[in-house]
């Protein structure tokens, strides 16, 4: 029994329920969530709470429909109904809006008085328990925030560790050739490297030092094949990352170079704007 309790908590905190509501789960995960929510009321309650919070969020992002759009859509429906009369539209009669439920309230005076009294008692109880709960809740919120910050820091460190591990694997792998791209006269201190693997046809760019370009410019990477430049795409200077950037693999490249070009790149390189170059 206690095993299952633990399990449900872990399941709830895994984030899968959030992803279910957002629609970012696989079919298999979706079926799993749907099965669990029928079985465990805690999971169902949690899901409803997530859905309601997001629903309220969506409400604040609502945008008034353009005037007449609802009428336009409804008249489109009328056309649809006319065109396939009776087939799949069994109920086209208008339904009275919920006002008919008010007929039931033939409540006499004392009953509404009693209900009013009960409601007042309810308010009293709500205020009392509400103030108690809000103290506890603010404690929990503080702790929760601390936990969240720790978790976020932990996730980021883990991600960085994975990235670094991948880079280490590339550096250690003999199948990768390391090609140093040295600075030209234009930027003698600039330096970059290419890791080039013909076996698995993967290429990574390691930007070590390149001057920050003007905002309307971007660096563009080129491979030289049989003396002709081949475009390998533009890139921005990463501000706070040391990651290798995966770039397209160009077969039989004899050299790589980086030029500074107008934003978005150009079809053939501007040679006087070459910053680094290196032969394979």
């Amino acid at each position: 029994m206690s095993y299952f309790r633990m399990d449900i908590k872990a399941y709830i905190s895994s984030g899968i329920l959030e992803n279910y509501v957002l629609g970012s789960v696989s079919d298999q995960e979706r079926q799993e969530v749907e099965r669990y929510m029928q079985k465990y009321p805690e999971i169902r309650m949690e899901l409803v709470a997530i859905e309601d919070a997001l629903g309220q969020y969506a409400q604040t992002k609502a945008r008034p429909m353009p005037q007449g759009l609802d009428q336009q859509i409804l008249s489109h429906f009328n056309e649809l109904a006319k065109s396939d009369k009776g087939s799949n539209t069994p109920n086209t009669t208008t339904i009275q809006p919920k006002s008919d439920t008010t007929q039931k309230s033939s409540s006499s005076g004392w009953l509404s008085g009693l209900l009013g009294l009960l409601s007042l008692l309810g308010i009293g109880a709500a205020v009392y328990f509400g103030s108690q709960a809000s103290t506890l809740r603010s404690d929990i919120t503080t702790k929760d925030q601390q936990l969240i910050n720790q978790q976020l820091a932990c996730d980021e460190v883990q991600q960085q560790r994975q990235d670094l591990e991948q880079q280490l694997n590339i550096l250690r792998d003999d199948a990768y050739r390391s090609i140093l791209l040295k600075g030209t006269d234009k930027a003698p201190d600039a330096v970059a490297a290419i890791y080039y693997n013909e076996a698995n046809q993967k290429t990574y760019l390691d930007i070590r030092s390149l001057p920050t370009p003007a905002s309307d410019k971007q660096y563009q990477l080129w491979a030289i094949v049989d003396g002709a430049p081949v475009d390998m795409g533009v890139f921005d200077i990463p501000v706070d990352t040391v990651d290798f950037v995966e770039v397209p693999h160009i077969l039989h490249a004899q050299a790589f170079a980086v030029t500074l070009e107008p934003k978005g790149g150009v079809e053939s390189p501007t040679l006087e704007e070459m910053y680094v170059i290196g032969n394979t």
Binding site: A53, T60, A62, R63, M65, G130, R137, E156
Partner: protein, 201 residues
């Protein structure tokens, strides 16, 4: 979600399941602006958003019998249909998706500008939501309202997948905390309104 009684979703569901067109009128009344907000955020064009609203309504109506209230809220279901309708459009028309950090900023500033023109009834809720950190609002906007996959959000925001995942989780948790903190006053107001309603009868 709006001022309607809580059983309206049940009524809507039963109308939908019967294939009654009244369902669409009621859905538009209750959720139309929220659906339109999501679609508009995705396509940024009134003309296209209007067409997509109509397409989405037809899909909602045609698939009404497949909605199962045991699997989630009605709004989650119809928003998913609206989002997917817009996504199909974006994909087939080779719509340029806003994937640079610049246009994310644009999205944010649009959202801010737009919130200023919001109707007065949502001001309280608006204020609560505005206390949610901007990075959390952006991630919810992208994934929940604009139908980005987590991977697309990774590219758009230029942050690792792990961070997207944890940010989504934290964003919703924070949102819930903020909303919970304001449920007591809402509860009191609702109770008072109920009493007034009873006394008026």
């Amino acid at each position: 979600m709006s001022g309607n009684s809580s059983n309206t979703d049940q009524e809507l569901t039963s109308l939908l399941q019967k294939g009654d067109q009244q369902a669409i009128a009621r859905i538009l009344e209750k959720y139309g602006d929220a659906l339109y907000g999501s679609i508009y955020q995705m396509v940024q064009s009134e003309a296209i958003a209007k067409d997509l609203m109509q397409d989405a309504c037809v899909k909602i109506w045609k698939n009404g019998s497949s909605y199962d209230p045991n699997k989630g809220r009605l709004f989650t279901w119809i928003l998913r249909i609206a989002r997917n309708t817009a996504l199909d459009k974006i994909r087939t028309e080779k719509f340029q998706r806003q994937q640079t950090s610049e246009s994310i900023e644009q999205t944010v500033s649009n959202a801010v500008a737009h919130s200023e023109e919001m109707q007065i009834q949502d001001v309280g809720l608006q204020q609560v939501i505005s206390r949610l950190d901007e990075k959390y609002r952006v991630i919810i906007d992208l994934i929940y309202l604009q139908g980005y996959t987590q991977k697309e959000a990774t590219e758009a925001l230029n942050i690792p997948l792990g961070t997207v995942k944890s940010r989504v989780k934290i964003a919703i948790r924070e949102l819930r905390t903020l909303l919970n903190d304001c449920t007591l006053p809402i509860f009191i107001v609702m109770t008072i309104l109920t009493i007034i309603e009873i006394l008026l009868k």
